[in-house]
Subunit: 351 residues, 2 copies
Amino acid sequence: MSQQREEQPEGDLRNTGMSLKHDREWDYELDRIVEEVQEREAKTVGLQFPEGLKRRGPGVADDLRKTLPDDVSVMISGQPCYGACDLDTYMMKRTDVFVHFGHSPMKDSDKIIYVPLFSNVDVFPIMDQAIDEQLSKPEEDPDVGLVTTAQHMNKFEEMCDYLEDEGYTVHTARGDERLTHEGQVLGCNYASADIDADQVLYVGGGKFHPLGLAMEHREKHVVIADPVNNAVTVADAEQFLKERYASVHKAMDAERWGVIFCTKIGQGRWEKAQEIVDNNENAYMLTMDEITPDRLLNFGMDAYVNTGCPRITTDDGPQFHAPMLTPGEYEIAIGEKPLDELEFDTFHGTW
Amino acid sequence: MSQQREEQPEGDLRNTGMSLKHDREWDYELDRIVEEVQEREAKTVGLQFPEGLKRRGPGVADDLRKTLPDDVSVMISGQPCYGACDLDTYMMKRTDVFVHFGHSPMKDSDKIIYVPLFSNVDVFPIMDQAIDEQLSKPEEDPDVGLVTTAQHMNKFEEMCDYLEDEGYTVHTARGDERLTHEGQVLGCNYASADIDADQVLYVGGGKFHPLGLAMEHREKHVVIADPVNNAVTVADAEQFLKERYASVHKAMDAERWGVIFCTKIGQGRWEKAQEIVDNNENAYMLTMDEITPDRLLNFGMDAYVNTGCPRITTDDGPQFHAPMLTPGEYEIAIGEKPLDELEFDTFHGTW
């Protein structure tokens, strides 16, 4: 794997005014892809990138086309992609080699080549700062959980050692079958943080993952060491929680419910959706891949239950025309569960 | 078929401040659907409505659920739908009975029940007005073409007779295999207007179809008799044409091209897309279902060629970050065809 230039850390540039540059120094594992093409005598290669990396797609296609025989077609998925749960199944079925970049496998599959795109940004200075500023001293509370995302998985053991050397007892877990690696978190699954420690250190870019963690484990002190934006903060789920309670209250008056079944390969909970519709004659099953304000506005329901990605509900919920609840919140809104049982909706199982 | 109340003509209400109401007086052909469910011993029924009719989906589901056995699941597609080219194939494959409302079949298929939703609005008063205001008198030019959309196909013969009674010679055509009915137009196909008349009367709601007709047949006088909005106008493609020329000129400087292959069942032109990419090393194949400004912005190309729905190119083109051309316009932009060969992009064949 090639080194990322240290003077140009790339990652979450949303608020910096900078745009991602075509950077060929990431390791796209082109050799592995070319090998697979030769082995399968493939004529078509499909490439899928997550949103933030799509701009690099044409450059990767260039590099592949230079190496591959002329009669091999390379194409890039233009479908939105937010995780390994979100495979372009159209492309997967219609290409001989299908490459998914930026996520670790949700389960093993011969049909898909996963290229995780590990980050080589140096994580230790920001971990050091996190220890100084936000973690309890080891002599006060030695127990600390450690989690990270697919991009930093390659440094996970080193991170553990680093904390141990500082005097901490590091708690890590493998999570459930949706998670590929020990210590890995997803936006919808924090089973790897089910550990015996009151403080958890998240090492990685952005607040998306640690905010989910803070919602799921409200009793824990979740410290963010972000090596991409070079900042230490504490994940505060307060705003999300306020919005969740507000949405549940609003939805209590709803007469007609839209029950969303998401058709994305890794985001479907059919039994759950079916159960809700079966037990409420004013509920309607709505099926779709992308769940957007425009699409729901068409139906004009009083409220929605989203059995797909919970992060659409929690993070984008306020953008919709009517309250959107998780399945658990729906039970509260219709009076089947008390309000104090409101909890973060997590996703389990693979696709 | 039940009568639509005359005091409440429904249709294009976008600029009226009114919203569509749940109107059970349209004929959703529920008996036919129920029969099919019984015949196939179906356990799942999928309903797909075009955008403007999605709000009626829950009401139709209600009516079906009242009649069908309790163990039959009814679900509604939340995918965008803009034509018979735009089937929810996910739902089609996973339901025992799949019903597509609002469009005539693009080809016969046992898998799909098409419910055209004929409009029963009275078309003759507005045809009368069109004759008075915009068509040449029969004694000056008796030849007139007649076209309409799926919604008014049930009145087509009566419309022909009406014009003949007024003294016109009515020219109609069956179009090509993409069109189900004599005299039918689609947003992307006006083969039914390839007739020997300088004036064409379009009877139907909105300007979407006649504007395409005017782009395709620039030499013809296209009169719109809109019984839904109760207005007679003339289709003027001037604005569209200006935008087309502007886009082509802008794209002449493009270095990197995104070539869009649309994965919707009736909107794919694979050979065309493949040919462009094969002959331009700075062109990249991008595959997607919905073609939106957000999705293309991710790739940051200098220009795009859209081999999918031509109406996205012509009608929505100015909303994209870079010029988007039809395949024919692309040939002009790269210097393979002269500018005066610019023409409207039409779609042929079925899915």
